[in-house]
Symmetry: D2
Subunit: 334 residues, 4 copies
């Protein structure tokens, strides 16, 4: 069995090479990977070799937004069959700890996550993974759509962390792929007004093309919101945005700012703001697949570039080189 | 000022006659009523003279699904202006009791509600009502759309009472106007699969025309759901439908069955079902207006018949006479 | 290794006999059982041979309210050590299904539960069970206290199912062990007024001795409550008790009534009552241990009778024979 | 009618003088004030003349933790009678705005609050206030107990803002009156382990005397908590304390730190911490009265000093002068 993989041998160096693969065992499944979305974290591992406490130490395969087709199944597999088209949830929890048993499996301290060091990711032709990470996608969904279930899941979970309620007015700061999908998630969950802000005129224009109110810089000075979803990670954005929240406003923080953020906390007591940190997602794959396949969320239009596996490095660096890009997809079978 | 009203003089007898009106005082507003939806409760008051403990005693004006244009405002009005197009929330709470202060104003024991005896309703040309019952609708929404905010609110509130979560699979029993709008509300709030059932092939067909899976009688025997919204009020439907709920399933009961309902409660312990009764709605007008005006909910297609004020009685009896009707609208200015 | 067990050979016949035991494997632990509370379900299995769909088919060991001391541990055990005193959670979930992963492990369809056919229970001298079912109890707690963690857990979970909030007024119908412990749980969680009702003057008196308001029959006609916890299982109690709930009232149904219960559901719409079925508990052991060991809940005084293993049958039949009994404890080492 | 009041004529200067009073009108009640607790905010207004955006401009009466006896009632009063002993909720909301109607009346932008400029407070002999601010206290509760309902309410509301659940392990930073009462509230609501920290050995010792684990400085380095209630307001405490929270941990921020607080927010994403700001309380008076009168919360022992009205200034400055003080009570009738 051939299995080409885009291996980051060390930060900055990606080589496409043959990697060993094997037959699936037990509840494992071999997936022929058809589409892998590039995430900012992949780019950061490539350029900086680390994200926070996660440090790349040795060769690693990147990529965790993936979809493909079931190629082979282990003897105990019951949920999928050969030929099924699937979206892949990249985290595998222990299913045993306090977090897993209380429904917060995404906070499992032993979570194995694709492309988070030291675990390899999905930029391969053939991935062997537990069947419980796989969710069938209907015929109307492309593999690219399937790969986009992952970033949409971030948006959906941010809405939940913000306790988004139908009719809420929502401000999304940062109109990159995650911000755009968080805004779409909010709209698909019944939000009333959804406004995006970004420093990039291209991204503001793109957000508008999807029907959103969007602003270059900040939202209108007098606009007030029930919910804030911070996706920019830029220092300085959060304090400004929190000013826009109404009494009992709720903020979900997706973007991870570098270093300390100075917050005038006592200024938020009178409004009783709630600030909720976000770490990926849980239980979102079926919901995201439903929203995409029914047309309630449009993930297709955020895919601006496509690359074969051989050009993985170009794909990973695209976001830094082309300000008019949003989401790059690597197609490992090309 | 002229003010024709459709007055039910006694059960079974509706007469269109001039009724006195007056200038709005304080925070009151005079609304020129443009559209009034007919609800099953209006029909029941006309034919039976009572609903549960509410008994018609003397002449009454029916109608509580209404929209119109602001014609005059009292001296203390700040929220609307003459010329504004508005949807009318029919309940006026005391704003003082325990229920009002805990956010449950719809459960206020002193609630004054349009067309609930002894209070007159909206089947008039000119209605004087507190400004806090009025919600502006945008240009893109018709008055008929505005009148449909009320039944859509029932559906939205049912979703909340059922703790509907994005991705839930939802069964709606009863595909009349409320069932159809509850199903649309569920879809607009992120539900995954939404299935309707009804005994009427016309209603099943109509539900399908809106993109829903719908069944004549019961849902597929092996289908399982997270949420049930019971809108039929037919005895026998609920016990059957509760069987379809998954563990931790939640049912919201909108339809009011006559007499006792026999439930094998002990059969629901193992799945820990939750059964939540529904009484109208609270806080839903802005959300409903947003969903309608943005196109996420289609209320227009459920309006199957229109009548001038002079034909109010025909409008009220339509549902009983024409099995191919869904929602009748009375236009008081015609 | 000796291991005497009280085996129900068929309904009505209990024989104390030697049963094989074995060394714990993997994460298993051998527990020397010191106290086993008798539950009404044990009595019902003995006298009727079945509870609902659970039918006794062959010999079975009863008992699921148990505590003891760790006697031996398997090679992979990390949570407990030989000599630890432990309370035993009787359910072992699959940790893999939808219910387990969403925090509802108690609704796991593959749950293995002590003394629920066909699984043997705890009326033995030596029980081998997974370490994840064991929770250490502090020195100040007796083994009897440890066995009472199970029925207290039912009460705690009922409070959660009823969304009990601090300051709620609570009605508990049925003042047997579960009702008494549910009332104590409510009080320990911040309830304001807690009232019990029972048909037994003995039980009413016992409830009063713990500081509760208690009534023989029904609560005062004009008393109103936010929460109802139905623990009697008697047909007729629920409809009456639901009348006492305030608007937005919530009922948790612990007692399982035989056959259908006729409910005037439409009468509950105006108050928007919520009726939540209860199935055991989840995540309650640490909380219950804390409440008992800190003295916030008194479980000791409900233990009215104690029996050696040889008198298990007498213990199981006590509740039916002695109206002045509450909870019987079997001490397997005596 | 005599009515002596302790008037702060300007920051730093308190004069006890006769103040006009009047008969209660409408739903107003005249309360003979028997006990007023001194809050740190009173002290700050006295010494600094402002708290955040609230600036003292002209003479003002301080004091908002008050209880007394109904002396006269207006013609529309129905909830209390002359002679009733009452605890006073100091905030009067508009009952009309979005916040009031959604249950968040404490966030009402038009809230009138005792002793918050420009509104006078309760350090008077006779206070005229709306009956809806009054809650009867039973005979077993002293007026001092009644005055302590206010600071206990802060603790109860902080528990709610932290989504405290039974069995949670709780860290309370700051063991002043509010911290002590927050810890007691947590215990009365079913928390498992409750730990306090403070820099004052006196306060640590006092916390221990109430049965709490307490530490001088920080909690044990390896202790982990589900909930943090920050009551110190000291910069530097929060970042340290947030490190102690488990995954999905929740922090309620009561203490208002001066200036910006630097938070390494990205460090909180992996654990998905939730930080909830606290602004007083809502709906807490009945709960607090129940917990105090039933003995579940001990407010009496925090009262360390008592003063007649003539010594109000000494009472207000006590906390700054006597490190062995906790709560001063002013008795206006002495």
């Amino acid at each position: 069995m051939h299995n080409l993989a885009a291996v980051m041998q060390r930060p900055g160096v990606i080589v496409v090479q043959e990697r060993p693969t094997r037959d699936p065992r037990g509840r494992e499944v071999a997936v022929r990977i058809e589409a892998v979305g590039v995430c900012g974290s992949d780019t950061t591992y490539l350029t900086a070799g680390r994200i926070g406490d996660y440090v790349v130490d040795g060769a690693i395969v990147l990529g965790h937004e993936a979809a493909g087709q079931v190629a082979a199944v282990g003897p105990d597999v019951t949920r999928v069959r050969v030929g099924d088209r699937v979206a892949i949830e990249p985290g595998t929890p222990c299913r045993d700890c306090r977090e897993c048993l209380t429904g917060n499996y995404h906070l499992c301290p032993r979570l194995v996550f694709l492309a988070t060091p030291p675990h390899d990711g999905a930029l391969v032709q053939r991935l062997v993974i537990d069947e419980r990470n796989l969710f069938a996608i209907p015929d109307g969904m492309s593999y690219e759509d399937g790969a986009m279930v992952e970033p949409l899941s971030v948006g959906l979970w941010a809405c939940r962390r913000a306790t988004l309620r139908p009719g809420d007015d929502v401000l999304v700061t940062g109109a990159g792929p995650v911000g755009i999908l968080a805004a779409q998630a909010a709209r698909a969950l019944g939000a009333a007004r959804v406004v995006l802000t970004d420093v990039s005129p291209f991204r503001v224009g793109f957000a508008r093309s999807l029907g959103f109110e969007a602003h270059d810089g900040e939202a209108d000075a007098d606009a007030r919101f029930d919910v804030l979803i911070e996706c920019s990670g830029a220092s300085g954005v959060l304090p400004e945005a929190l000013e826009r929240l109404r009494p009992a406003g709720r903020a979900a923080i997706v973007g991870m700012a570098k270093g300390d953020v100075a917050l005038a906390l006592a200024h938020y007591n009178p409004r009783e703001l709630t600030i909720s940190m976000v770490n990926r997602y849980a239980h979102t794959w079926p919901t995201a697949i439903s929203l995409i396949s029914s047309g309630r969320v449009d993930v297709r239009s955020i895919v601006t570039h496509r690359f074969p596996l051989a050009e993985t490095e170009r794909a990973l660096l695209l976001a830094r080189r082309d300000p008019h890009s949003l989401k790059a997809i690597v197609q490992p079978q090309l």
